[in-house]
């Protein structure tokens, strides 16, 4: 098992690296897209804005390499937070910008109807499964995970929704198409259910 954590100069990589180590695997943090070929799992973390994230992925050569690894080599890929959002076709944070286009859909800012709803969505909230994906195996429905974000992924196709979370109506908190997964919450900061997600991904 060789887990590659994509370092594109934006993220808190320490927590995700340590969490994967706690799952019993030593991941490699790399800024070299050439390393994707030999990876058996890819984690795309992310803190920051969609525009900066995509700019860095493009400048560092990650964008085409990630597409190839996920679409052609079918290496399981997990996007976390901004990393999930970057899987979309486009995002509107910092102007409309194209994404990695790995899962059809777009990323939009929360638009709460109720003025008492505070944005960003920060804190622990429930994750309710929408389908029986193995990513959520062993995790009770409605478990709390840690979120911190103002934008959310709106997938074009319902069957790509793995889980939703009750905030601003209901938003999509996990998506998946084949070997490509995205979670809006931070499994590396969500205690036991978070570790379970990572373990399930590593087992996938």
């Amino acid at each position: 098992m060789s887990v590659l954590i994509v370092d594109y100069n934006l993220s808190n990589l320490g927590s995700i690296r340590r969490s994967i180590e706690e799952c019993g695997v030593s991941p490699v943090v790399s800024n070299d897209p050439g390393k994707l070929k030999t990876a058996s799992r890819i984690v795309l973390p992310g803190v920051g804005s969609f525009t900066d994230g995509m700019a860095n992925l493009r400048e560092m050569g990650w964008a085409p390499a990630l597409r190839e690894a996920a679409m052609e080599d079918r290496i399981p890929l997990l996007g976390i937070c901004l990393g999930m959002q970057l899987l979309a076709e486009k995002g509107e944070e910092g102007g409309t910008v194209g994404g990695l286009k790995l899962i059809p859909g777009e990323v939009r800012r929360f638009a709460p109807e109720d003025s008492s709803t505070r944005i960003p969505h920060v804190g622990w909230n429930e994750v309710w499964k929408a389908s029986g994906n193995h990513l959520f195996e062993g995790i009770p429905d409605g478990s709390d995970f840690y979120f911190v974000h103002s934008y959310h992924f709106i997938p074009r196709r319902k069957e790509h929704i793995l889980a939703t979370t009750p905030y601003c109506g209901n938003f999509v908190s996990a998506i998946g198409v084949g070997n490509i997964f995205g979670v809006q919450f931070h499994p590396e900061k969500s205690g036991r259910p978070g570790f379970q997600i990572l373990k399930n991904f590593l087992k996938a």
């Binding site: 934006l10 993220s11 808190n12 990589l13 320490g14 927590s15 340590r18 969490s19 706690e22 803190v47 920051g48 804005s49 900066d52 901004l82 910092g94 003025s115 505070r118 944005i119 960003p120 969505h121 920060v122 804190g123 622990w124 909230n125 429930e126 009770p140 409605g142 478990s143 709390d144 840690y146 911190v148 974000h149 103002s150 009750p166 905030y167 931070h186 590396e188 900061k189 205690g191 036991r192 259910p193 978070g194 570790f195």
Partner: protein, 260 residues
């Protein structure tokens, strides 16, 4: 439903964990690392670690220590103290901080909040506001760990940091700090009424009812506390049980030793 967070605050000075009263009379209460390990094991909702002397000593944060803390912390970690440039923010995020708290530098250079939000996203920018009531009854913001008056009114400054792009506001009452007499609800309400971003109450918690009040009367999204956890037998888990019994949504209540 989004849960209300109970957040222990760890104040860090030299190598020790300290707690004072009114931002003064610092008393050593232990070391930081064991406290982080205990809170991590007990699955608290989040931790705030503030290096209270970094700014006054004009030094950058101790990234190595932050890296050690974060390595043992699988819950969200907010780090503050000495955050005065984008480079420092990048360094802290690299070291494992999930969010950074900006206080003094925001008054000196408000553009820092905007640039940080643009670069790293609003979600990791916490504006920390320390305020004390002045003779007119207004709440005035203080920088430099509560020592320097800024002339800014807390409610107005909160709106300003929201406009600049802060994703959350940590509001601490300087005169209630360490007294355990309850949060300054008036101060908190002035802030929560004016902004749409989440607000964390800080300074003065002495019992669980104070926490309920910060949420139900002052509209806060989270409650931070230090003395109550250092100097009494009260715990974050019991706090959440109490909040839950008063109808405040919290996480992981009545599930000791595990998460649901």
């Amino acid at each position: 439903m989004l849960k209300v967070r109970v957040i222990p605050t760890l104040l860090w000075k030299d190598p020790g964990l300290v707690k004072g009263v009114g931002f003064d009379s610092w008393r050593r209460v232990g070391t930081v690392m064991p406290a982080i390990k205990v809170y991590n094991t007990r699955q608290v909702d989040e931790l705030i670690v503030l290096d209270i002397s970094a700014t006054s000593e004009c030094r950058v944060p101790d990234y190595e220590s932050i890296e050690e803390f974060s390595a043992e912390c699988f819950i969200p970690l907010t780090v503050g103290g000495g955050v005065r440039s984008l480079e420092v923010i990048r360094g802290l995020l690299r070291a494992g901080a999930d969010k950074v708290a900006i206080n003094t530098a925001a008054y000196e250079c408000p553009g820092l909040i905007r640039e940080a939000a643009e670069k790293f996203g609003s979600q990791c920018v916490v504006a920390s506001i320390d305020a004390r009531r002045n003779s007119n009854g207004d709440h005035e913001c203080f920088s430099m760990c509560g020592s320097k008056a800024t002339g800014k009114e807390a409610g107005a400054w909160a709106r300003e940091v929201e406009r600049l792009g802060a994703g959350e506001i940590l509001v601490t009452s300087v005169e209630r700090d360490g007294t355990m007499q309850g949060y300054d609800l008036d101060l908190l309400k002035r802030v929560t009424d004016g902004v749409r971003i989440p607000v964390i109450a800080s300074g003065g918690a002495g019992n669980y009812q104070h926490m309920v009040e910060a949420v139900t009367l002052a509209g806060c999204s989270a409650v931070a506390a230090a003395s109550i956890f250092h100097f009494t037998h009260q715990t974050p888990m019991e706090a959440k049980e109490y909040l839950s019994s008063r109808g405040v949504p919290v996480r992981n209540v009545n599930v000791h030793g595990g998460s649901r």
